[in-house]
């Protein structure tokens, strides 16, 4: 199934507590793409991500990850998909009782057959890739700063050399320098590992610097989809407000 798109969503609807969050939403992401999802806070971006990861039940529609439909997948197929995807949650979601290195080793120990030496070496390599040192590797999650938590969470998402990585607001809460570093890091990892990236972000700089495609989610639909230039030219009032507001203008000006 090498030709199947990385992510294929068709006619997806999700209702939570009687409210329709996603309404007949369709989206396709090709392999190796870096797609950014934008939308208002509380507009269903995280709901979409969680539905794609199988953490939320959907009302109707279909989600295929790497060509495998999620709904009638057997437990072993779900495991196989989990092995080929990595997710980085908004708050990091590092396991608090394990050290940073053990956090990165955890998915390896679950899915792979290998020695401690190999796992340690690869875990340290991943941590080095995201810019953490060997001293950081032995720290507990509670001892990390916000930026370091994000880096460690990214290292864990990359632990199994996944084909798709889902990132939920990777740069929120980082200072501009750290966020800029993070953008560069994601770009270089993309080049190095040939990942498909699905990223939720509000950070216009990140969208501009990292994503080659942007999808805008508004009132449960994808209202625009394409490179930054397409979105900037869109006439949709919400998109206008989003990209041509005070902060959006800085981007346009920078281009």
């Amino acid at each position: 199934m090498a030709g199947a798109p990385a992510i294929s969503i068709s006619g997806l609807s999700v209702e939570l507590g009687g409210r329709r969050i996603l309404d007949n939403l369709s989206l396709e992401v090709a392999r190796g793409e870096m797609i950014g999802l934008v939308g208002a806070s509380g507009g269903g971006k995280t709901v979409l991500l969680r539905t794609m990861l199988g953490l939320l039940p959907k009302t109707s529609g279909q989600v295929e990850i790497l060509g495998l439909p999620l709904e009638n997948a057997s437990p072993s197929e779900v495991r196989a998909i989990g092995r080929r995807c990595g997710a980085m949650f908004q708050q990091g979601a590092l396991f608090s009782s394990l050290s940073v290195r053990e956090n990165v080793e955890f998915p390896m120990r679950e899915y792979l057959d290998g020695s401690d030496r190999l796992f340690r070496s690869v875990a340290l390599a991943k941590l080095r890739m995201v810019g953490l040192t060997e001293t950081d590797a032995e720290k507990m999650p509670a001892q990390l700063s916000g930026g370091m938590t994000k880096r460690a969470a990214l290292a864990r998402a990359l632990a199994l050399d996944p084909e798709i990585v889902f990132l939920d607001e990777p740069t929120s809460g980082l200072d501009p320098i750290a966020a800029g570093d993070f953008d560069a890091l994601i770009r270089s990892l993309h080049e190095m590992l040939g990942l498909t990236l699905f990223m939720i972000t509000h950070d216009l700089e990140t969208l501009n610097a990292v994503c080659d495609r942007i999808a805008a989610l508004h009132e449960g639909h994808i209202i625009a989809d394409g490179p930054m230039s397409t979105l900037l030219q869109s006439d949709h009032p919400w998109l206008k407000a989003y990209f041509r507001g005070e902060r959006g203008r800085a981007i346009q000006w920078a281009r």
Binding site: S115, R120, S121, A125, A142, M192, L193
Partner: protein, 373 residues
């Protein structure tokens, strides 16, 4: 779909070429390691040729780095060639592979005394924390009494409902059963002496003075003390306590005093319920197991149940509840960032408060003996 990784070896004079092929990826991790460990030939120089590698990821690269390192350690000057350009950064990031786990520290003879010493200092710190919290509660209560608006009555009532009213059914059931059991054992053994009448005295004195209050407090420690520790601990983890402090509010005023007061009020009430239920249980057993008429049971009960016995139980209940609530609050405030420390704090609150309650019970026994109660 995927090729197994392979290494084929060609000798060239003093040197050797290792030709790697197949998928050097995570799913073959064990195989890659085995190959890397076994592939080293007897040669002066080796070339590791990656041209045949169809897929490479970090795990494969790590295996290759291990091979290269082993060759380097054997003095063979390994050369990597035929690496796809896009894979170069993976090798750059790898760095030295991790050799072996650092040796575990051996247990020594001195570990036991060290642990004892450390635990003793912890016990000292616990005692200090207990008295310091007691002091903060008293000062908070003082402020509250001067300005009753600061006492947070809605919060007290809410916790009184949670730890008092909702605990009543389980406490009634538990003490009823305990009353039954004590009475049955009493009748069974006292029959041999023909002293079954005194079973009523036994049950009455025991439940009024000791068992009633102890069981209720132990149930409270397991049910409410632990939930205090868990609630305050998770508020600490989510920085809610810090948020209160920055608003200029004292967490003792807002969170701890209402909880402590609620428990101190609830404990004597629950104790009365517990004692009554235990006596009812004893009465039921007396009626059906011993054929003692309820009238006789009540008459003997009236003689045995003096006000003094009740007072002894009632004086102990609020003091013990105070200890349980304070220990819960202290352990909650000690929670650090991890989920594990929350679990440890909750457990510690139950273990420590039950232990302290038993010690306190002993001290009360001495006090009441001295007072002649």
């Amino acid at each position: 779909m995927s090729d197994e990784p392979r290494i084929s070896q060609t000798s060239l004079g003093e040197g050797a070429v290792l030709l790697l092929s197949g998928d050097w990826t995570a799913r073959h991790a064990r195989l890659i390691e085995d190959l890397a460990a076994r592939a080293l030939p007897q040669a002066r120089r080796i070339v590791i040729d990656l041209t045949g590698v169809s897929h490479l990821d970090t795990f494969g690269a790590c295996g290759i780095a291990m091979l290269r390192e082993a060759a380097g350690n054997a003095g063979m000057k390994p050369v990597l060639m035929g690496m796809a350009e896009r894979n170069a950064p993976i090798f750059d990031a790898l760095g030295p592979t991790y050799a072996a786990a650092p040796p575990m520290r051996r247990a020594t003879m001195l570990d036991a005394p060290e642990t004892i010493g450390r635990n003793l200092t912890f016990a000292g710190a616990d005692a200090l924390a207990l008295f310091s919290m007691l002091g903060r509660l008293v000062s908070s209560l003082g402020r509250g009494l001067r300005e009753p608006a600061r006492l947070r009555f809605p919060s007290i009532v809410h916790h009184l409902d949670r730890t008092g009213a909702r605990a009543a059914p389980i406490i009634l059931l538990m003490t009823f059963l305990i009353g039954c059991i004590i009475a049955q054992q009493g009748f069974f053994h006292f029959r041999k002496f023909g002293a079954t009448d005194y079973v009523v005295d036994l049950v009455t004195v025991l439940t009024l003075r000791e068992i009633g209050v102890l069981l209720v407090i132990i149930m409270i420690a397991g049910r409410s003390g632990s939930s205090y520790a868990a609630e305050i601990g998770s508020m600490k983890m989510r920085e809610e306590i810090d948020a209160l402090r920055t608003m200029g509010l004292d967490p003792v005023d807002v969170l701890i005093l209402p909880r402590v007061l609620a428990l101190v009020i609830a404990a004597p009430l629950l104790t009365i319920l517990g004692v009554l239920s235990a006596l009812l249980g004893a009465g039921v057993v007396a009626m059906f197991y011993e054929d003692m008429s309820p009238i006789i049971f009540l008459l003997r009960l009236r003689e045995a149940a003096t006000m003094t016995h009740l007072e002894v139980g009632m004086i102990k209940a609020p003091v013990m509840a105070l200890i349980v609530a304070i220990v819960g609050a202290i352990e909650g405030l000690r929670v650090a960032g991890s989920a594990e420390s929350l679990g440890l704090g909750t457990t510690a609150s139950v273990v420590k408060s039950i232990f302290l309650v038993i010690v306190l019970d002993g001290l009360f026994a001495i006090l009441f003996a001295w007072l002649g109660m």
